[in-house]
């Protein structure tokens, strides 16, 4: 038994000749908000797919709450309490907003009798209550993100994995999604692991950062350490000075 909620050791994934994730170690304590930072193609989303069972790892261990979840099917991992969102929002086309959330609550983790009221409550938490009956394909990009988060929350997770929650959003929307993540973390006692490369909001949100490049962990620490870490600057920001990041 480790005292980490999520404990990943020496995980590897190769796609043909490409070593997409190389010997990655990652520990997340209960109640943390951990960020995964890295340029495009660094292996962030692949890492998420390995953790959530969408892609099987070649080597390594993945433990959640002290038990191995490596090699489990995605739905089994979700039902142990690990929920995820997708980088490209994937609503159920042809279904209303509330129906999208309801689908998330039909797994075995949720025993609530009044699923409709529960879904409505989740929608009001993410700020979509008045759009409950809107067809999901009519939502704006920011609202789709909120819907993704509500659907992930519907599975009643312990650990929430957010894949680039700010991608494609304007600064006002980034601010409000950021506030939403903070609120969920505080109110629901959620542990959150998120991928991002929008530096400013990201650094304000997370308590710890793991920086990836070419599938490898290149640095780990609190945001202040990461932004001044020479390898991060080299890999991610090029020649900019650390001051420009803060």
């Amino acid at each position: 038994m480790s005292d980490y909620l999520l404990d990943v050791k020496q995980i590897n994934k190769r796609f043909g000749g490409l070593h997409a994730v190389r010997d990655v170690n990652l520990q997340v304590r209960r109640g943390e908000i951990v960020g995964i930072l890295g340029p495009n193609g660094a292996g962030k989303t692949t890492l998420f797919n390995l953790l959530t069972g969408f892609i099987p790892p070649d080597e390594g261990t993945v433990n959640f709450q002290g038990r191995s979840i490596r090699g489990l099917k995605p739905h089994k991992i979700v039902n142990l309490g690990v929920a995820r969102t997708f980088q490209l929002c994937r609503p159920f086309v042809g279904m209303s907003v509330i129906e999208n959330v309801l689908v998330g609550s039909l797994g075995p983790r949720v025993s609530d009798v009044d699923l409709g009221a529960r879904a409505m409550h989740l929608l009001s938490e993410v700020g979509l209550a008045e759009k409950a009956d809107t067809p999901s394909e009519l939502l704006s990009y920011g609202d789709l993100r909120r819907l993704e988060i509500a659907r992930a929350l519907a599975t009643d997770p312990e650990l929430l994995l957010l894949d680039e929650p700010f991608a494609g959003l304007g600064s006002a929307e980034i601010e409000s999604i950021s506030a939403l993540i903070r609120k969920l973390h505080a109110e629901k006692n959620l542990t959150i692991l998120l991928i991002e490369h929008k530096l400013r909001e990201f650094m304000q949100l997370v308590s710890r950062v793991v920086a990836l490049d070419f599938g490898e962990v290149i640095a780990e620490g609190v945001p202040a350490e990461i932004v001044s870490h020479p390898r991060v600057i080299e890999a991610y920001i090029g020649k900019q000075t650390p001051e420009a990041l803060a």
Binding site: T52, F54, K73, P74, H75, V78, N79, A83, R84, T85, F86, R90, P91, F92, V93, G94, M95, S96, I98, E99, L102, V103, G104, L106, G107, P108, R109, L115, G116, D133, R151, A152, A154, T155
Partner: protein, 331 residues
């Protein structure tokens, strides 16, 4: 709660009224010919609604529905003629055997992505048709199995029985489609990865849905066998599956009620065009092309939607004085 509600009363009532009208139609108009046409139409209705439940809701199109129909029909013929069992055994036996084939085929094929499920089902139906010829000692080969005992001797009574089965089948599928099960199937049509991220074992849901769909296709097959009083390998023909799929599209895919209407409409249209002699097939095909081209959501379901909207608005106009009724109706 709209999403996980019970069946809406208006649609159920309309369905029941249509069934009653269909039941009295041959009595009013008369003629044993019409009874025969309507019996076949009702059986096609069972096939179409069972197809729509699995394929219409999940979007995984089954091009081998005739396989389950043939299995059900042959189960009826074999038990009745070769084994000498009473005709009523055919109904449960056809459902059980067709479900078994649903499991057998669904298990490997529903893991396939893209068009491969459709192709695998199509091939399976073709293979079954060949197998009927190869095992001719049991299946009667080209000739099939003759002299099947009718379930009910009187043709009109048998038609009423088939109508009842159609009504119950449609009600069952409509209820399932409105339940959480139906919601999951529609979600699978939307996006499989998101379903997995929602914690749902999608392959299991798809396989069980195919089994249920197969059971009722088989039941329809047995009803057909006891109507024709013979079965032949032609039952497995791909054209049967295509006809059913066309009926579903004309009715309105994924709407459960719509495909039943589509089946009745197309069967009656085929018969109605008989007066046109050799032009019949051409007129039929042109009408079909026009429908599919200009009305991609089908004919029956969208028309019913419009009628329903009209009815609901008029009911709401008069229902203003009875707020209690409305409150309980929506609870």
């Amino acid at each position: 709660m709209a999403a996980l509600g019970s069946l809406d009363k208006l649609s159920s009532t309309a369905g029941l009224v249509s069934l009653c009208l269909l039941a009295v139609l041959p009595v009013l108009v008369g003629g044993s010919y019409l009874v025969g046409v309507l019996t076949v139409a009702a059986i096609y209705g069972i096939w179409a609604v069972s197809w729509d439940f699995m394929s219409g809701l999940t979007g995984r199109e089954n091009f081998g529905h005739s396989l389950f129909i043939g299995v059900g029909a042959y189960a009826a013929g074999f038990l009745n003629v070769q084994m000498g069992l009473g005709p009523w055994w055919s109904l449960p036996a056809s459902m059980v055997l067709a479900s078994f084939f649903g499991l057998l085929l669904g298990f490997p094929t529903l893991r396939l992505k893209g068009p491969y499920f459709a192709l695998a089902m199509l091939s399976a139906a073709v293979i079954m048709q060949r197998l009927m010829l190869i095992f001719w000692e049991y299946t009667g080969g080209e000739e099939g199995i003759q002299d099947i005992t009718p379930l009910i001797k009187n043709h009109l009574h048998y038609y009423w029985f088939v109508l009842c089965v159609l009504g119950l089948t449609t009600w069952l599928f409509a209820w399932l489609a409105r339940s959480r099960w139906g919601l999951i199937l529609r979600a699978i049509k939307g996006d499989e990865a998101t379903c997995m991220a929602a914690g749902l074992p999608i392959t299991t849901y798809k396989i069980i849905s195919l089994i249920i769909s197969a059971a009722f296709a088989g039941l329809g097959g047995a009803l057909y066998a006891h109507y024709q009083l013979q079965v032949s390998p032609q039952l497995f023909a791909v054209v049967t599956s295509i006809t059913i799929i066309t009926m579903v599209y004309v009715g309105g895919i994924g709407t459960i009620f719509g495909p039943v209407g589509g089946a009745l409409l197309l069967t009656l249209m085929t018969e109605g065009l008989r007066n046109f002699g050799e032009w019949r097939l051409m007129i039929y095909s042109v009408l079909l092309i026009l429908i599919l081209f200009y009305l991609p959501n089908g004919v029956v379901a969208p028309i019913w939607k419009k009628i329903r909207a009209m009815l609901t608005s008029s009911v709401q106009g008069t229902g203003a004085q009875r707020p209690t009724d409305k409150a309980t109706g929506e609870a």
